[in-house]
Amino acid sequence: MSIDKDKIKHTAKLARISLDENKIESLSKDLSNIFNFIEKLSKINTDKVKPLTSILDHSLRTREDKVTDGGIRDKILENSPNKNEEFFIVPKVIE
């Protein structure tokens, strides 16, 4: 199955990754090979099979409604590449 350049560009856009024009050619080749490999699955009949929803057999565990976290602004902002005392700072979004 071939993954053409337009599909790759669109997918890269969705994944917010910019691609070099000269890399798209080799990417297309690589991805097409990988998808050929994955295509093997189409050979198997799974009409009567339910998709796996969880390997575990326990139910989703819940927790009590208590405030046990937060109030750690310094730690939260510490690692940010651009911030001030109160906020994360990012380039403007055009709304």
Binding site: I3, N33, I44
Partner: protein, 486 residues
């Protein structure tokens, strides 16, 4: 004491408890080895000051009632360590210093151990040779110019070279077991949910599991006991009482039924691997186990299934690396979207980007049913294969890898060839089962080869016992010459 670092973890713990050796001496011995082992490139971050301080503190006020008293441990750089840089082998987290500690490492430190350093790995755990790390390739101590396997390549390399008495890695498709096999060490991937994922940089949430990597099976049991256990912060953690794996360890495997799946005999498999498998069967038979032929019919679909599910989950798990809250942020980009695109393009390596693209694609509109849902259905079939098999047997014996360690650069340009490394290990991640790789022999080039034992859910004790028995009878000897010290 000479050659402390040749000893097993169990022996070292014993010596410390008997007061025949001090933690500081042990720690210094390993620090020296690490300093001499730079060529292996297995460490990304060294924590020597911290380790020495902790060792001295231990010696001043020792507590022998714990499992790992005064033991320095280096860990895979995927475990977030408080105040110590955690990179996941990526430029994206090159300078990231977590303000929190992963549950697994917390458990180890609670048992008396302390951090020696952070070990190199494939970027974001994506790789089978430790050739995708931003911090450079790791070398296999067994032979120069050879890969150690991946993604826990730094862990396996450091362990085999005596740079750490034991270590932990993570296994999503074989990332503990395959490097263990390549380096002649032991690696165990626990049942999904036995070990907490909280604080581990996530790759594929439904497949990731942390596990011990050690030189002996006793060590493995000890490490597993120390690290495992229920964590309420992880919704996928299993709520049950901790097991005393090391205390219950026994050579007695009489009457256990071992399945040999015919589908694991793949075309073109080297003769040596076949012979190794036979050796393993023989040992088990001699120790009283029963060998039974079984079938796992959907085995051939495991790798394609894995390469849909894992990238899909990864594409979503890695969306948080956007340069806003932490990590690398590109200087290029005049608005938010451009900042994202450049940050992620510059911060991620090629293999990671490839997998994110695959994952994004298989989840996207129009392809979700054909790929992702299909893969989850096949995954159910693979799991059912195992469920069926385990009504007849107690464990399954297979080779760990389709070959021994290959040369650095040999498979780098062929992703599929690289992916095939995981052909024997991937099915167990898909089914959430425990599995251990133990070194059983060498190939004609003197490179180690391992066999894999797969167990029932939460059947770690049985696996450890089988491995313990095989270890004692295999006569495997690690014959590494420390070429990197020259």
């Amino acid at each position: 004491m000479s050659n402390i670092t040749n000893k097993s973890l169990t022996e070292i713990v014993d010596l410390i408890k008997k007061k025949e050796i001090k933690s500081e001496e042990v720690t210094n011995a390993y620090i020296n080895n690490v300093k001499k082992g730079k060529k292996l490139n297995s460490f990304i971050t060294e924590s020597f000051d911290n380790a020495l301080t902790k060792s001295k503190n231990f010696d001043a006020k020792p507590n022998y009632e714990v499992l790992l008293p005064g033991v320095p441990l280096a860990v895979k750089d995927l475990f977030c360590t408080n105040g110590v840089r955690t990179t996941a082998g990526s430029k994206m987290l090159e300078n990231f210093i977590p303000t929190y500690e992963s549950t697994i490492t917390s458990n180890l430190w609670s048992e008396g151990a302390f951090l020696l350093g952070k070990l190199n790995c494939d970027e974001y755990a994506m790789g089978s040779s430790n050739e995708t790390s931003f911090f450079g390739n790791v070398i296999n101590p067994v032979k120069e110019n050879t890969v150690p396997g991946g993604s826990s390549g730094g862990s396996a390399s450091a362990l085999a070279a005596d740079l750490t008495p034991a270590t932990i890695g993570t296994d999503t498709g074989g990332s503990i077991r395959q490097p263990a096999s390549f380096t002649g060490t032991i690696g165990l991937k626990p049942t999904y949910g036995l070990c907490s994922r909280w604080g581990i940089v996530a790759f594929a949430s439904s497949l990731d599991q942390a596990g011990p990597m050690t030189k002996t099976v006793s060590d493995c049991a000890l490490m597993l006991e120390a690290m495992s256990g229920f964590d309420s912060k992880d919704s996928t953690s299993i709520d049950r009482k901790k097991e005393n794996y090391s205390k219950k360890l026994t050579h007695n495997i009489k009457g256990l039924k071992i399945g040999i799946p015919k589908e694991y005999r793949v075309d073109g498999m080297p003769n040596e691997i076949e012979k190794l498998w036979e050796k393993g069967k023989k040992i088990l038979k001699e120790e009283g186990a029963e060998i039974i032929d079984i079938s796992l019919p959907h085995t051939e679909y495991a790798l394609p299934t894995y390469y849909i599910v894992a990238p899909a989950e990864a594409s979503s798990n890695l969306a948080r690396y956007d340069g806003v809250k932490y990590g690398f942020r590109s200087h290029n980009g005049s608005n938010l979207v451009e900042m994202y695109e450049n940050t992620r393009s510059e911060g991620f390596g090629d293999e990671v980007k490839r997998r994110i693209l695959i994952g994004t694609y298989v989840l996207s509109s129009g392809y979700y049913d054909a790929y992702y849902i299909k893969a989850q259905k096949v995954r159910q079939l693979i799991k059912s294969d195992f469920d069926n098999a385990f009504t007849k047997v107690d464990a399954i014996l297979t080779p760990s890898t389709p070959s021994s360690a290959f040369k650095i650069g040999e498979k780098k340009d062929d992703p599929i060839s690289m992916y095939l490394n995981d052909i024997f290990t991937v099915p167990t991640n898909l089914a959430g089962l425990p599995a251990i790789s133990i070194p059983i022999g060498h190939d004609k080039n003197n490179l180690p080869l391992g066999l894999q034992l797969i167990g029932k859910p939460l059947g770690e004790q049985t696996l450890l016992n089988l491995a313990f028995s095989m270890e004692s009878k295999s006569n495997f000897k690690q014959n590494i010459i420390k070429w990197w010290e020259k």
